[in-house]
């Protein structure tokens, strides 16, 4: 069992949980993910790691309630435990394998959309610990949906905010803010790392391609085991089939077939599922909004 040590509500329907998982805390690196399972009958849910502390033997996960399984997770309280937490899965971010002197020459921009801001955090923090300051754009639907802004400010060079409704920072999408930074404020970036809902990543990649910025995306697909067994997570990258769990989760954003990835992500979205969600929303007053900073409806 994996004890839940700390639970915080970061924004509407977005939870932060610090979990006891000593083996994972010792071995994980930025960019990797875990699979959690609440109880006997629960699903295996892939979630990105938001933070980890090898000394304390803890990892932090951030998730949004989007269906009945994540809703079950949200019901756990401090002192309760997850039945299973397995990982770290996937490959660490490319940058963790790069030579420090090469990294120092880069000017890196991170773009986090909605709950996708969470996996951006450990990467920015990792760079910060190496003495490298990177810029971050955090996008959300509105001010209330922004997460990890203060935490990010402590480890990033500049943090830029974009909200769809203009309640905080730039009024508009993250892509709008990026355009402004590059075209109006004279910013230059040698690499972008974009994490968020698929439609937001697709839009960001279209723009970074125009701007000539090499871009990495980190994707969260349907998967069961997370170790290459089920193949549910397969995506096409540059015409080749890859498994997000063992070949990813990071891929070249300019080569990923987003249309296919978005279509495959919806495979288990059923009428019953939607009905169940509506029911939950009614019963519990839970809103199903993705707050991705790209106005998409995930």
């Amino acid at each position: 069992m994996y004890r839940l040590l700390e639970k915080r509500l970061l924004a509407t329907n977005i939870y932060y949980m610090k979990v006891e998982a000593p083996r994972i805390a010792r071995s994980c690196l930025p960019g990797q993910f875990v699979i959690v399972k609440t109880d006997d009958k629960g699903e295996r849910i892939p979630l990105t790691i938001c933070d980890y502390d090898a000394q304390a033997g803890t990892i932090a996960i951030v998730f949004q309630t989007v269906g009945s399984s994540t809703y079950q997770m949200a019901l756990l309280e401090e002192g309760n435990a997850f039945q299973d937490v397995v990982g770290p899965l996937g490959n660490p971010s490319d940058m963790t394998g790069e030579a420090l002197e090469d990294l120092k020459k880069e000017s890196i921009l991170f773009i986090g959309g909605g709950v996708g801001t969470a996996p951006v955090y450990p990467q920015v923090k990792w760079l910060c610990e190496k003495g490298i300051a990177s810029d971050v754009i955090i996008g959300a639907r509105s001010k209330e949906q922004l997460i990890l802004v203060e935490e990010m400010q402590k480890v990033a060079g500049n943090v830029y905010i974009a909200t769809d409704d203009g309640t905080a920072g730039f009024h508009g999408m993250v892509t709008g803010r990026l355009k402004q930074l590059v075209q109006e404020e004279g910013k230059h970036y040698s690499k972008a790392i974009v994490i968020g809902p698929m439609p937001m990543m697709r839009a960001a990649c279209q723009l970074t391609k125009e701007l000539g910025i090499p871009t990495i995306v980190s994707i969260n697909t349907i998967m069961v085991d997370g170790t290459g067994m089920c193949g549910a997570c397969r995506v096409t990258v540059g015409g080749k089939v890859k498994f997000a769990c063992v070949d990813g989760p990071e891929f070249d954003g300019h080569l990923l077939d987003f249309d296919e990835a978005i279509r495959r992500q919806g495979m288990y979205k059923t009428e019953e599922g939607r009905a169940r969600l509506k029911e939950l929303e009614r019963e519990q007053g839970i809103q199903h909004s993705c707050g991705c900073g790209h106005g998409g409806d995930k």
Binding site: G228, R234, V235
Partner: protein, 472 residues
């Protein structure tokens, strides 16, 4: 009684069983078992034993069954096989023990598998304690993977008094026995759980949710946690696809995915969260046991199910019994047919499969006649789900994180056939991780041999003892 004829084994009727996931074969009762056992000729030179990968003393246990001493029969089997309830159900007996039975020359061979299963089930139901443990050194051995190879290796080493821990990547132990083989062939809560409990009773610890190569490496287990030897029985988990157009359409699954959702995650039950989504008409591509398992699972989930296989019935790699069961249940066989493209509808979902007819040419390396495309014979079939059951290969999570561990071009770990010794001292391997996808019993044989070799290695001194030390 006609000695040439088997005592038939009771089964659930096909019409009933396609609507449930309960075990198809109901097994012998005591009377039936004794009657079947009485057919055994008790050969002086039993050929059946020579074809058993773990050399169970077959005539000896069968004589005990004949006499009604089922407990003694169980003890006889337990000497050589720690997982008899599993082997009795899934071993390909027709090509092993039963294939050599003298009675099989003129009549039907003794139902050795069904007798083994009967004895194992009887001893479970009568709570016979078969655990025998020697005092030992308590030295630490790590077993990677809790499938048939790992469980066997762990059990044998624990019996010799080693401190054994199994590391399992999934949340439940059992490997392919749990995620791969369906409930209706191998019941999980009774059979599997019990066999795993038996291994635990020997003192084996099982740590689930540990992916060796990710969560911890073998070298960390050696250097930081005090393990002196390791056995890799991590199986062959990576599914193969055909690499044909349309294969990423919505509704194309690997057999692994469908089986894992249903078997491990229990998606067929209302009270479990994991979904499984099969269409009205399902094509299962492949002809092995996994293809039969996937097809029969799809059938039980309510789909019209077809096997699409490129060779003829004779070459089907699945066990005859599985093919028979699939046919009885209504699986439709499309033989000498191979998919060339998955057809998609306007939303990217499967709407059919473009196939080509095949004919058999000259025998290939496997000895089976090679299927050759019949030019211009393409035709379309309507399906809304396609399940690829084309085999699996080992993944490289362990080999890529263990320095000096040699693999071949199929990513299989290179290991000595007799001992399981790999290119790294103290590290042994066996089962599908070495051979590529094969059978439960061959994996068990490999686990057994490796346990013996690990015992010899550690008894003779362990680290550094098998290789010349520099300066020696």
């Amino acid at each position: 009684m006609d000695r040439m004829k088997r005592v038939p084994v009771r089964e659930q009727e096909p019409e009933a069983r396609v609507h449930n996931f309960d075990e198809v074969c109901l097994g012998y009762n005591e009377e039936e078992a004794k009657e079947e056992a009485a057919r055994c000729l008790n050969c002086k030179n039993p050929l059946c034993v020579s074809k058993c990968p773990v050399y169970i003393k077959i005539p000896e246990f069968i004589q005990h069954v004949k006499e009604g001493d089922f407990e003694e029969a169980a003890r006889t089997i337990a000497k050589d096989n720690a997982l008899p309830a599993i082997c009795g159900r899934v071993c390909p007996q027709e090509s092993q023990c039963e294939g050599k039975c003298i009675l099989g020359i003129k009549g039907e061979p003794v139902s050795i598998g069904k007798l083994e299963r009967f004895v194992a089930d009887w001893s479970r139901e009568h709570k016979v304690d078969l655990t025998q443990k020697e005092e030992g050194s308590g030295r630490k051995v790590a077993i990677i993977g809790s499938g048939p190879a790992g469980l066997t290796c762990a059990g044998d080493l624990a019996k010799k008094g080693y401190d054994v821990t199994i590391f399992e990547a999934l949340h439940e132990p059992g490997g392919v026995l749990v995620y791969g083989i369906p409930e209706f062939r191998l019941p999980k809560d009774t059979v599997i759980r019990h066999e795993i409990e038996n291994v635990k009773k020997l003192g084996v610890k099982i740590e689930t949710d540990v992916i060796v190569g990710k969560t911890v490496t073998i070298d960390e287990l050696f250097d930081e946690e005090g393990y002196e030897a390791a056995f890799i029985g991590s199986g062959a988990g990576l599914p193969k696809f055909m690499n044909i157009p349309g294969e990423n359409a919505n509704g194309v699954f690997s057999a692994n995915e469908v089986l894992t959702r249903v078997n491990l995650m229990k998606a067929f039950r209302e009270d479990y969260e994991t979904p499984v989504k099969l269409g009205r008409k399902v094509a299962v591509v492949g002809g092995g046991n996994v293809a039969m398992d996937a097809a029969r699972t799809a059938l039980r989930l309510g789909s019209e199910t077809h096997i699409v296989y490129r060779r003829s019935e004779e070459e089907l790699p699945a066990r005859v019994e599985e093919v028979q069961h699939a046919k009885e249940e209504g699986v439709i066989f499309n033989l000498l047919v191979n998919p060339v493209e998955i057809l998609e509808d306007e939303n990217g979902w499967v709407r059919g499969v473009r196939c080509i007819r095949m004919e058999l040419g000259e025998p290939d390396e496997s000895g089976r006649r090679r299927p050759v495309e019949v030019k211009g014979s393409e035709f379309d079939m309507d399906f809304d789900t396609v399940i690829m059951a084309l085999g699996t290969s080992p993944n490289s999570l362990i080999s890529s994180t263990t320095k000096g561990l040699e693999t071949n071009k199929w990513r299989c770990i290179v290991a000595d056939e007799q001992t399981g010794q790999t290119s790294r001292e103290g590290i042994y391997a066996g089962g599908d991780a070495v051979t590529g996808a094969a059978t439960v019993i061959l994996a068990m044989e490999a686990g057994k041999k490796a346990a013996k070799a690990i015992d010899e290695y550690l008894t003779s001194g362990g680290k550094g003892s098998v290789k010349d030390q520099p300066g020696d």
